[in-house]
């Protein structure tokens, strides 16, 4: 997904660039936290032992490689989470706005 596609999906086409950037950052934070969450689900106790010892050695590349070996097709894994998260946020946000608009128009009409 491109930046424009995400912005459109989130309904932010008419927002100013600074707001767009701020909200994209927030959504990106959500994606990252979710990826971390899913990663932690996939690691076994043995994995944690191994990674822990690798961290102690200070070899970041080894740590990274080991984790990557535990999640084949890592980019697919991340893309799925990312797309799912964006979809979810977009759907729910749009629904909130629709409901708010409905409420607003009814109240202002009274």
């Amino acid at each position: 997904m491109s930046k424009e596609e995400i912005i459109k999906k989130l309904g932010l086409e008419n927002s100013d660039p600074l707001t767009q950037q701020a909200l994209l950052q927030q959504v990106s934070n959500s994606v990252s936290t979710r990826i971390l969450n899913k990663l932690t689900e996939l690691l076994s106790d043995e994995d944690l032992d191994k990674i822990s010892s690798l961290i102690d050695t200070g070899n970041d590349v080894e740590v990274e490689n080991y984790i990557m070996s535990k999640v084949p097709n890592f980019d697919i894994f991340k893309s799925q989470i990312e797309e799912e998260t964006i979809d979810e946020i977009a759907n729910n946000a749009t629904s909130i706005t629709e409901k708010a608009k409905e409420s607003l128009s009814e109240n202002l009409a009274e």
Binding site: N14, Q25, S30, I76, S79, A100
Partner: protein
């Protein structure tokens, strides 16, 4: 009465400055004459004088508009606020006295650890009281945990129960030192009710927060002061005087006599309620609290379920309940958030009307001033005066015009602002759920915290950056437990654009401090009930019953979290596909049989027996419980084996949790599908294992 006071030529009619001076002098002399008595004798009412307001924000909570609030956030009447103001010095003295006593007690305790028991009201007893409270709460936490409650829930529930008891005690029992000469009393053993002494800025029992309310509840409650006589009547809930009581000494003030009381005990003073109560903002706050609690509860149930290899019934039931609750509170929150967004838009509209009215008034002033300036008989001083006023009014007129313009632009963009606000809100909820999951999982697996910390520090690494976001150079930041974003962007931009006029300020009221009625929020059920109750209130109050969950019911809420009963690996292979590969290689006709059967089921021509359907569902559940613990190759081997076993006499689709556990164990030992098939005697070990690594 002092002669100087009664004979003063300045007192009839009283001039504020003279009376103030006289009162202060008499007070300084400490001759025992109360201000009220003196003022009454002088034929004046001191509290009605337009005297300069003393700053008492260190004594009682004062908002930006100068209104006082009691500890629960309710408005104080002007009379009560004036009464507090007039006794501010005594209140401060009481605080100083308390601090001094506490300091002495600490010093004494440091010098020699002597036993102070028997000295009622001494600081040692106070510390002891706090200690008892802490112990009582800790004991209750242990009880709740022994009943199966999580650490977090037990902690929250125990504290809520404690504060409920305090509130109930305050409402139903005499004042804290009634019937006793001691000034600061603490409850006896096993009694936590009636804790009277919350002093702003006080240390919290050596770092223990248990015995104190949240920060925003302790401000402005320093009223139980040494040597005070009480006038708290039985049944009075708080230390504030009745609405109609301005004379006498309303608090426990050093050296003051209790005024005689005639007639029956007075009821609690009617208190004004903040305008936001039961409004959309408050409803949203309650719903937010309910949602936050549900997230914690849901995460706990989810983590608990992960621990059960095959998925126990009890854990499944707890998870189902937590999931349903999360969905419900999520919907409730979104409903309230939408209503708040709409209310904000209405406020902007109202603000514009108010600004226009104010502008019209200023325009009228300008016309009058211009007319006045045309008078040829004006003195030079008058000309200067009117000219200055005219310039001020014209300037204000122009400023209001700018604000009207800004508000109008805001209103025209309101739908866009609503969407922005909603994105922010939902993203924060999404984040909160995942962060809660991570945090709880870390508690269960301390080694995981180390790994997660490493991942958080390497946020630029491939693991935790979204693919699309990485491409646009937006690196996500992994966050911990953060509050749910409840303040809309619309509100913030609005505040940024507007000035300080009261008319406009009303539009930004929604960002006021969060105050929840703790009495309704003692349990998770309480949270939900509170949200529902609030919801009903709001709906009833809506003119025409405008909104009630119309759109949100169809939402895919928190998709991917609440509908994933167990951790799942990335969907890089289809389970059905590998089942098929597992069985088709063992029996040449199986492929055709399988395809035909699946088509028939899909077309509705073949209806599997309930037993078969149930068995298959059980197998799927058992599989889901273990698949997340396996690597992708191990998962593929597992599905190959399951396919084979489905055609093996005596096994079929009866994939129990124990069996799945055994299979997972063999796979973790390094066995592949053919190894396992051989070991189980489930037909020829001739599966093409190249599909495992393809």
């Amino acid at each position: 009465m002092p002669e100087s006071a009664s004979n003063s030529p300045d007192v009839i009619p009283a001039q504020p400055s003279h009376l103030q001076t006289e009162l202060q002098r008499i007070k300084d002399e400490n001759n025992g004459v109360s201000e009220t008595a003196l003022a009454g004798a002088m034929g004046n009412e001191p509290y009605t004088l337009d005297k300069p307001k003393e700053d008492i924000s260190d004594v009682v909570k004062i908002d930006d508009e100068g209104r006082g609030h009691d500890p629960s956030g309710r408005f104080l009447s002007d009379k009560n606020l004036d009464t507090i103001r007039s006794n501010a010095d005594q209140i401060r003295e009481g605080e100083e006295e308390w601090n001094r006593l506490k300091s002495e007690a600490n010093q004494s305790e440091n010098n020699e650890n002597t036993d102070d028991q028997g000295q009622e009201g001494a600081p040692k007893d106070i510390e002891s009281g706090y200690q008892k409270i802490g112990e009582a709460v800790s004991k209750r936490i242990d009880e709740l945990k022994s009943e199966g409650m999580s650490d977090r829930d037990a902690l929250a529930k125990a504290h809520d129960e404690f504060w409920d008891r305090v509130e109930n005690a305050s409402a139903n029992q005499p004042g804290p030192d009634e019937g006793s000469d001691k000034n600061v009393s603490f409850p006896p053993e096993d009694e936590v009710e009636g804790v009277p002494f919350y002093v702003k800025g006080e240390e919290k029992n050596g770092g223990k927060n248990d015995a104190f309310p949240p920060e925003d509840e302790v401000e402005g409650v320093p009223f139980y002061i040494k040597d005070q006589e009480k006038n708290n009547t039985e049944g009075k809930k708080d230390a504030f005087p009745p609405e109609d009581e301005v004379e006498g000494v309303p608090f426990f003030i050093k050296g003051k006599e209790e005024p005689p009381k005639d007639g029956p005990p007075e009821e609690n003073p009617p208190v004004e309620k903040p305008p936001v109560e039961n409004g959309p903002e408050e409803a949203e706050r309650v719903a937010e609290a309910a949602l936050a609690a549900s997230i914690v509860s849901f995460a706990a149930a989810r983590i608990q379920k992960e621990k059960i290899f095959g998925g126990g019934k009890q854990e499944q039931a707890q998870f189902d309940t937590a999931e349903a609750q999360l969905q419900q509170t999520f919907h409730e929150f979104l409903d309230r958030a939408a209503e708040k967004e709409a209310a904000e838009a209405e406020k902007i509209k109202e603000s514009i009307e108010q600004l226009k009215a104010k502008q019209a008034q200023i325009a009228e002033n300008v016309t009058k001033l211009r007319s006045a300036l045309e008078d040829p008989d004006l003195s030079q001083a008058e000309i200067v005066h009117y000219t200055q006023q005219l310039e001020q009014n014209e300037s204000e007129y122009a400023n209001i015009g700018k604000e009207i313009l800004a508000a109008s632009q805001e209103l025209s963009n309101i739908e866009q602002r609503m969407q922005e606000s909603a994105v922010e809100m939902v993203a924060s909820i999404r984040n909160r759920v995942d962060a809660e999951m991570v945090e709880q999982r870390e508690k269960a697996h301390p080694r995981l915290a180390k790994v997660n910390n490493w991942l958080k520090k390497h946020k630029g690494a491939r693991f935790v950056a979204g693919v699309a976001f990485s491409a646009m150079a937006i690196t996500g930041t992994i966050t911990g437990i953060v509050p749910i974003a409840a303040v809309g962007i619309a509100g913030r931009s609005m505040l940024g654009a507007f000035g300080g006029y009261n008319a406009v300020r009303a539009a930004g009221d929604f960002i006021g401090g969060k105050q929840l009625d703790r009495s309704d929020l003692t349990t998770i059920e309480g949270y939900t009930t509170g949200a529902e109750k609030e919801s009903n209130t709001v709906r009833r109050s809506k003119k025409g019953g405008a909104v009630a969950g119309t759109v949100l019911g169809a939402l895919p809420v928190l998709r991917g979290i609440s509908h994933a009963p167990a951790p799942t690996p990335p969907k890089t292979h289809s389970a059905e596909e590998f089942w098929y590969k597992g069985l088709s290689t063992s029996r040449p006709t199986a492929s055709a049989d399988f395809s035909n059967q699946m088509s028939a089921v899909t077309n509705g021509e073949l209806i599997p027996s309930p037993q078969v359907t149930a068995a298959l569902e059980n197998m799927k559940i058992a599989r889901e419980a273990v698949i997340g613990k396996l690597t992708e190759p191990q998962g593929r081997n597992l599905d190959l084996v399951l396919g084979r076993l489905s055609t093996t006499p005596g096994i079929g689709n009866e994939g129990s949790a124990n069996m799945m556990n055994s299979l997972a164990g063999m796979l973790k030992q390094g066995l592949n599908a053919n190894d396992i098939i051989s070991r189980l005697g489930a037909g020829p070990a001739d599966i093409d294992l190249s599909v495992v690594n393809s």
